[in-house]
């Protein structure tokens, strides 16, 4: 039912077909099939016309699997491109389960993007949750196992918010239609749905699952995860809740919060995870402000972010693959041994920093300019502060301490990096630069009509970006001995999540266990004794009551039978005497009663 007669091949079909087929494919040639679903997805989203496709009935509900419009198409387009890059990067991986789960996850993201109703959205939302959990677990170590459980628990709770919201909404309005909600008419169920979306968007303080889980994923799995979960959430927020003021504030808080934590982190993939929180903050803020320019800025930034963040995770993934760690205090002095990893990483680092020539420059500035034009000055200033922090951490700190700091390191054992990993990174880098140089590559697909087109390539915009980033670089130069990473765990909101978890555990293991013990004792004393008494009573009743009645009847019948047998003696005179006695008795009874 997903593929329709009108020619729309839903991208999910290819990914799920491959996930089902992979376990049965022998040899090694199956690896080339990994590229097929992304290529089909790219072809599909580039050729399909907007419209409604693929309705299906399930549990008495009509599911709309293919809502194709400008908004869903641009997200699907970048998902398709990123899935191809991710699959190329993962081609060397022999573990089929990793590929299967990547397919389940990516297919789920396409399902959410094209979902026309909440029920369809929820189903694919949960597929994403399952697929991504496995992408963490499949790193197959103790830390990833624990992180995967925490991640799954947290996303299950987020999914339950969504489920509760959509069921409450169904009860109130009688359908599962997924459309924009007017910010002034938000009902409690809308807030519940929004909460579910905010969990996946990593809105502070619901964000701590992200820096907890993404650093523990597989080398290739984290590349997929950094692209799809939060951006699917951005898409649904944009479709359902643009203009909701709380998102403007929450998004700006995310922008700053993420960079502050990244500033003090040691693990490279954890730094990048905090920068997902920060960069998604620009998008969430743009959605909350709700003007055409800020919303287009959110979409453009989501597109650019998927490409450069994927590239950043690919770069740090190479470090993890080659050196076995992404902790900056253990790295350093590797630039001459991993020069291309450094160079390709830097393309992404400059992109995320909003440096001219790279795609972050044409997307981030659109949101900030839109915020300023909407007279949200403080929000725009906070976004600029976040831009400073981004360049400090991802643009300079991470590559400096991973590749440059310390003398040339010739002793660290480095595993050779497969060619396909370089190819995947090069694909991402080419797109980051191409979009930066030719913004229309991206702008032509933006879904919202603007009063005037945004032009990033003005002399002032370039100079402003260079001033901001150049002097941020000077700040790093001055404080390079202070910002040196240390092997520490920085407490975040997950401290409180764990506290809640421990609280529940303590509640179960102590007060509830005590109540259970007391109840068992009370049952043993009162309940069991009562039951024994009841049993004794039942035995007595059975003996004295049931047995007396039943056995008594039997004995009576037997005695009557014996008496009858005695009476039937065969002697006529006894029969006559008995008949006379009976007649006399009956006559006396009748006479007495009359």
């Amino acid at each position: 039912m997903i593929a329709t007669t009108s020619g729309f091949i839903h991208p999910t079909v290819g990914f799920y077909a491959l996930a089902l087929a992979l376990p049965f494919l022998p040899g090694k040639a199956w690896k080339w099939l990994l590229l097929l679903p992304p290529l089909v997805a790219i072809w599909s989203v580039m050729t399909i016309e907007p419209g409604m496709y693929g309705q299906a009935s399930w549990l008495g509900q009509t599911l709309l699997l293919g809502r194709v419009d400008k908004l869903s198409l641009i997200f699907a387009q970048v998902f398709a491109v990123m899935s191809l890059i991710g699959m190329v990067y993962a081609l060397h991986v022999d573990d089929k389960l990793q590929h299967i789960m990547a397919c389940v996850y990516v297919g789920g993201a396409f399902g959410c993007t094209f979902a026309g109703d909440f029920l369809t959205l929820f189903i694919f939302w949960e597929f994403m949750s399952i697929g991504s959990t496995f992408l963490i677990w499949l790193a197959r170590n103790e830390r990833s196992t624990k992180a995967g459980f925490r991640y799954f628990l947290y996303h299950t709770i987020g999914g339950l918010f969504l489920l509760i919201g959509l069921l409450m909404r169904y009860k109130a309005v009688g359908n599962f239609t997924f459309d924009h909600v007017m910010p002034t008419q938000m009902m409690p169920y809308d807030w519940m749905i929004l909460l579910g979306f905010c969990v996946n968007a990593a809105v502070v303080p619901l964000h701590a699952w992200l820096p907890d889980a993404y650093p523990e994923g597989t080398v290739t799995g984290s590349v997929f995860m950094c692209a799809f979960t939060t951006k699917t959430a951005v898409y649904v927020l944009l479709r359902g809740f643009h203009g909701v003021e709380v998102l403007a504030i929450a998004g700006t808080v995310m922008c700053v919060y993420g960079v502050l934590y990244a500033c003090i982190e040691n693990n490279a993939r954890r730094i990048l995870s905090y920068h997902i929180v920060s960069q998604v903050g620009y998008m969430v803020a743009g959605i909350g402000i709700g003007t055409a320019m800020t919303m287009n800025g959110a979409v453009a930034h989501a597109y650019a972010h998927i490409l450069y963040k994927g590239l950043l995770f690919m770069g740090t993934g190479c470090l993890l693959y080659a050196a076995g760690t992404t902790k900056l205090d253990k790295l350093g002095g590797l630039v001459h041994r991993l020069p291309w990893v450094m160079a390709l990483y830097m393309v992404a680092a400059l992109s995320i920093s909003g440096m001219p020539l790279f795609n972050g420059f044409i997307s981030k500035t659109m949101t900030i300019t839109g915020a300023a034009e909407a007279h949200r000055t403080w929000l725009a200033i906070c976004m600029e502060i976040a831009a400073v922090g981004t360049f400090l951490s991802v643009g300079i700190k991470l590559p400096y301490f991973a590749f440059w700091a310390k003398p040339a390191n010739n002793t660290m054992e480095l595993k050779p990096i497969p060619v396909n990993m370089y190819v995947g990174m090069a694909m991402g880098a080419v797109l980051c630069i191409a979009q930066g140089l030719y913004p229309d590559m991206l702008y032509r697909y933006l879904p919202f009509e603007m009063e005037h087109m945004y032009h990033p390539w003005t002399v002032w915009h370039v100079l402003q970006a260079l001033l901001l980033l150049g002097f941020s670089g000077l700040a790093f130069y001055i404080t390079r001995d202070i910002i040196t990473p240390h092997a520490k765990t920085n407490l975040d909101f997950d401290f409180f999540y764990r506290l809640i978890g421990r609280g529940v555990l303590a509640l179960v293991s102590k007060p509830l266990a005590w109540i259970d013990d007391r109840w068992t004792e009370a049952y043993r004393v009162a309940g069991l004794g009562g039951l024994l008494t009841l049993a004794r009573g039942t035995v007595w009743f059975d003996t004295k009551g049931i047995d007396t009645v039943v056995d008594g009847s039997a004995y009576t019948v037997q005695n009557v039978g014996v008496l009858g047998a005695k009476v039937q003696s065969g002697r006529l005179q006894e029969y006559l005497g008995l008949a006379a006695a009976l007649a006399l008795g009956i006559f006396a009874l009748v006479w007495y009663l009359a």
Binding site: C263, A380, E384, V459, L468, F476, I478, T479, K488, T489
Partner: protein
Amino acid sequence: MSLFGMLLNWLRSKTGLLAGLFFLGLLGLVGANVFIRPHEVEFVYDAYPGFWAVFGLVGGLAMVIIMKKIVQPMISRGDDYYDRNN
């Protein structure tokens, strides 16, 4: 070591030269800002030349010093803190 790797290694030995070029570049940018101003003033003070330079420098310094010197000592624990406490 690849040719590219050797080039980057050579650059490591020229940090003084690179730093000098960097400072010159920054001076050039501030000089350009005297003549090139925003089309529309967005934050009042950005009309003044050097505003974004000060913003980037002060913002960066404040962020690093506050987070590393004040906040991190308060919120950081041992690297294996959660491993030991779970």
